[in-house]
Amino acid sequence: MTKLRIPYGPPDRLAHPPLDWPAYKSTALRAPKRPLVALPHFLGEVTGPVLGEDRLGPLDHDLTRQHADEPQGQRIIVHGRVLDGTGRPLPNTLVEVWQANAAGRYRHQGDQHPAPLDPNFSGAGRVLTGADGSYRFITIRPGAYPWGNHDNAWRPAHIHFSLFGTAFVQRLVTQMYFPGDPLFAHDPIFNSVRDEKARNRMISSFDLDETVPEWALAYQFDIILRGPESTPFEDEQ
């Protein structure tokens, strides 16, 4: 088992936002203040839970078919690949998504935005990636919604993603955005990622090839998890 010593490189520090980000007010009392303690990688860090087919329901991949009728809003396909930092696809890994409905309201008791709930939309989906690391959801485009962070604060439309990869150190929770959103410049969560190229990796791209005629637009969102090597990042060379 000792051969599993440190196969993962350090995290991509330029990609990930700092915990302490005053523009996002909820960080004020929640972001730890002390420096983090370095943890070397052993079995507990380079392995992770195996979450398989038994976690999936038959319609978990199609958020438009989980109720008696179709939800309101624009039907879309969201697809992409889950890769590690070396470009290797990550097969059979759990991808979970959750989102607001087309009106910008979550089916959650804590969401007090005065926009309608949709009886035909739960806003939650789950798939496993295929052998090539690919995944595909059918859903509706979520609406933007207001929040209390600052005066006239609105979140850009987004879909939450939760991924495990194959190792504890690859665990990622992120948000997928849509191209060209006018709210990007005003959103402190999006802008907590300080590097513009890194921010752009959270924005899906419109995909005409996967768009299904007469039926649904497609967006592509590839997700890169931490890689098992410490070679330099591509744009540092």
Partner: protein, 167 residues
């Protein structure tokens, strides 16, 4: 060549519509021989309980354990799992521990900590714990709390701030 990573973003306040699993807090079913409860409260920097957090436990090894639990309205959480086992480390085995990830609105990234069970101590020679400032090492030790149960409060900030690891 390395591909650049997709950045992390906060889990936000509404994750429970997806991530609140029916078997959430149970890494093992009730009645499992030798099972223990790990339980406690998640606090913010003002000492207020956090009612919208999500915790995940991970115990690697031949018989791995994983579970996730969202905090209740009083910031409380509880996991039913088995006693952690020793795993290889830099200088022989590491002391047994339960690895935890904490997610919440206001945490842009998860934070990672470890619960060591007090009666597995002392941990003076442990390769990981010996790198932690002795004045705050106690924040990583879960104390016995009734039969087959341990209490492990997590403070994201403040005088009692828990030690978090950079993984």
């Amino acid at each position: 060549m390395r591909l650049r990573e997709t950045p992390t973003q906060t889990i936000g306040p509404f994750f429970a519509i997806m991530l609140d699993w029916p078997d959430g807090c149970y890494a093992v079913p009730e009645g499992t021989e030798g099972a223990i409860w790990l339980r406690g409260t998640l606090y913010d920097g003002a000492g207020a309980p956090i009612p919208d957090g999500l915790l995940e436990i991970w115990q690697a090894g031949a018989d791995p354990r994983f579970a996730r639990c969202r905090t209740d309205p009083d910031g409380g959480y509880r996991f039913l799992t088995t006693r952690p086992v020793a795993l290889p480390g830099p200088t022989g085995d590491q002391a047994p521990h339960i690895q935890l990830s904490v997610f919440a609105r206001g945490l842009i990234d998860r934070v990672v900590t470890r619960a060591y069970l007090a009666d597995d101590g002392p941990f003076d020679d442990d390769a990981i714990l010996s790198t932690v400032d002795p004045r705050v090492r106690g924040t990583l030790v879960a104390q016995p709390d009734g039969p087959d149960a341990y209490k492990f409060d997590i403070h994201l900030q403040g005088a009692d701030e828990t030690v978090f690891f950079d993984v």
